[in-house]
């Protein structure tokens, strides 16, 4: 059967996504630059190769799901949507202006966003319910939930991991953008999560650790997970750099909060030029 569902297929350039994020943040005076930059390669690889959508019907019931549970990384999704033609330049340039429908945190009222984030520990749990529904229907749709490592502090996350493993939701793919920082500083100093890989394994997941900025490694890792016949749910722990792509933002947690100035905008744009 010739399914209308397929990944984007065309090259999604991470550098181009980061430029869009930068333009949005500059236009809207948005924060959360560092959080969006760390997951750019993750969403680029997922959309290019693994998230199967009906590009003529965004609401096709059989489509794969990407739930951005760390909703503060939402500019990375908007940047992808611009590549798909779902958002235009006016949407990007009008970020945070009156009547612009794009919010600063992921909201499922924005077409293309599947599950609302913003409040942490929600996207993973709701997408677990969607994965359960898919399993009950005998569907092989993939449900990807993308979390931050700081988000793993939330108790609801661990409730859902227990549930996913118990019900062998093997089409649920939990991805952690592990950039080692959370809102107030280094995660290891605030609430040390230790080895996420070991925790996922102990909770009954098939787990791969990977460099979250190496596109080839990411593609290989996701390929292994989606083709695995292991009945366990899947986890990918992606080691990333908060603020990746702009030298003065990398591993500088101030860029969780800082707004761009003319000077920092131009400097960042220079580093991200094609």
């Amino acid at each position: 059967m010739n399914s209308p569902l397929k990944p984007w297929g065309k090259q999604i350039d991470a550098r181009s996504l980061r430029r869009t994020i930068l333009q949005m943040a500059w236009a809207g005076g948005s924060v959360h630059l560092g959080s969006s930059f760390s997951l750019v390669e993750l969403v680029a690889v997922l959309y290019q190769h693994f998230i199967r959508l009906n590009w003529a019907d965004r609401n096709d019931d059989a489509r794969d799901i990407l739930a951005l549970s760390k909703g503060h990384g939402v500019m990375a999704l908007y940047a992808c949507f611009r590549e798909f033609g779902w958002l235009n330049d006016a949407d990007i340039q009008g970020y945070f202006s009156p009547k612009n429908h794009l919010k600063g945190l992921s909201s499922a009222h924005v077409p293309g966003i599947e599950v609302s984030g913003g409040s942490l520990g929600h996207g993973i749990t709701v997408s677990t319910g969607m994965a359960l529904a898919s399993k009950l229907k005998g569907s092989d749709r993939r449900v990807f939930a993308l979390l931050g490592d700081g988000e793993m502090n939330e108790g609801s996350v661990w409730e859902s991991l227990l549930f996913a493993a118990h019900h062998q939701l093997n089409r649920l793919f939990v991805i952690v953008d592990s950039n080692r920082f959370q809102a107030m500083g280094e995660s290891s100093l605030i609430l040390n999560m230790g080895s996420l890989k070991q925790k996922f394994e102990a909770f009954g997941f098939e787990v791969i650790e990977v460099d979250g900025h190496n596109v080839a490694d990411l593609q290989n890792a996701f390929e292994r997970l989606v083709t695995s016949t292991d009945p366990r749910p899947k986890a990918l722990v992606a080691h990333t750099i908060k603020g990746k792509g702009v030298s003065f933002m990398e591993n500088n947690n101030d860029w969780h909060y800082l707004r761009l100035t003319e000077e920092t905008y131009q400097a960042a744009l220079g580093e991200l030029s094609p």
Partner: protein, 296 residues
């Protein structure tokens, strides 16, 4: 009430394959018939209420009308933010069903006293809030929720309630029932309080009218206009804290109607409710109700 709820839901689920039932490891000796009849549409998610509401939301996004059954504060206050953000914000078909309303688990103490649920839930946009007064109301609201898209809350008492209504009711949704006619005072009973006052001999004097009002939200404003025109005094009864509950909803409705010019006078409203206290001793439901002054 809980057995009526379950038998009604079983019947609804026979004719509607989108009905799903989740429980949070509570419902022993109540839910088994549903689990046996519809094993593919029943799940005990474990003692994890945040995940339970979110999983219900995920199932609802995939087309199910999900009933979530647990006890009192656990499927409500414990996971309030999930109800707000995962369910109500997206207008998903999740129906939260709490057994053990008010003091019906009285001897177990404050953890099991469900006395603030109306207040927290009725502030949520799109949420309906109902506490039936007898088994027939329970069945009617369960059927209504079974066909309703969007969120709802059903507070059940426990077991052993008698039927106030002589026969089954149409599942028409939010409505009120005039059970006894009167002239001066309208007694408005919500939930289990209907059981307590239905046989009060003072109704035989034909001065007091009795209404059963299962829905705290939405409030029927047209009915409220009629009450304000007909009666000098209203007495509300609820097994809930004084603030933000049924009596509060009536007071807000009356004030709004008055300020909008839809009624020319506001009747006296006496609110019988829990006077902003936790009870720190043990006792039966009837004893605890009497202790905090829940009587006509």
């Amino acid at each position: 009430m809980r057995s009526t709820f379950l038998s009604t839901l079983l019947d609804v689920a026979k004719h509607n394959d989108k009905i799903f039932l989740l429980c949070g490891d509570l419902g022993y000796s109540v839910l088994e018939p549903f689990a046996a009849a519809f094993p593919q549409r029943f799940l005990n998610v474990g003692i994890a209420e945040q995940n339970m509401i979110a999983v219900a939301s995920g199932l609802a996004k995939e087309g199910y009308n999900v009933f979530v059954y647990s006890l009192g504060n656990f499927p409500t206050l414990r996971c309030l933010e999930q109800i707000r953000y995962d369910v109500c914000y997206h207008n998903l078909s999740v129906k939260v069903v709490a057994v053990g309303g008010g003091y019906s688990y009285g001897p177990l103490g404050t953890s099991h006293h469900t006395t603030e649920d109306f207040g927290v839930l009725r502030t949520l946009p799109r949420m309906r809030v109902a506490a039936p007064g007898d088994p027939h109301e329970t069945a009617a609201i369960t059927r209504y929720y079974g066909s309703l898209a969007g969120p709802g809350y059903l507070r059940l008492n426990k077991t052993g309630e008698f039927c106030v209504h002589p026969q089954s009711l149409e599942p028409v949704g939010p409505t009120t029932y005039c059970l006894k006619k009167g002239k001066t005072t309208a007694v408005l009973a919500n939930g289990s309080m209907l059981q307590d006052v239905f046989q009060d001999p003072r109704f035989e004097l034909n001065q007091w009218a009795l209404f059963s009002v299962p829905f705290v939200k939405p409030m029927d404003l047209d009915w409220l206009v009629g009450l304000a025109q007909e009666f000098e005094e209203l007495i509300s009864l609820e097994e809930h804290q004084l603030s933000c509950g049924f009596g509060s909803a009536l007071a807000e409705g009356l004030m709004d109607l008055y300020s909008q010019g839809k009624i020319s006078r506001v009747p006296r409203l006496k609110r019988v409710a829990i006077p902003d206290v936790f009870v720190e001793h043990s006792g039966s439901q009837a004893y605890l109700k009497a202790t905090v002054g829940l009587k006509l």
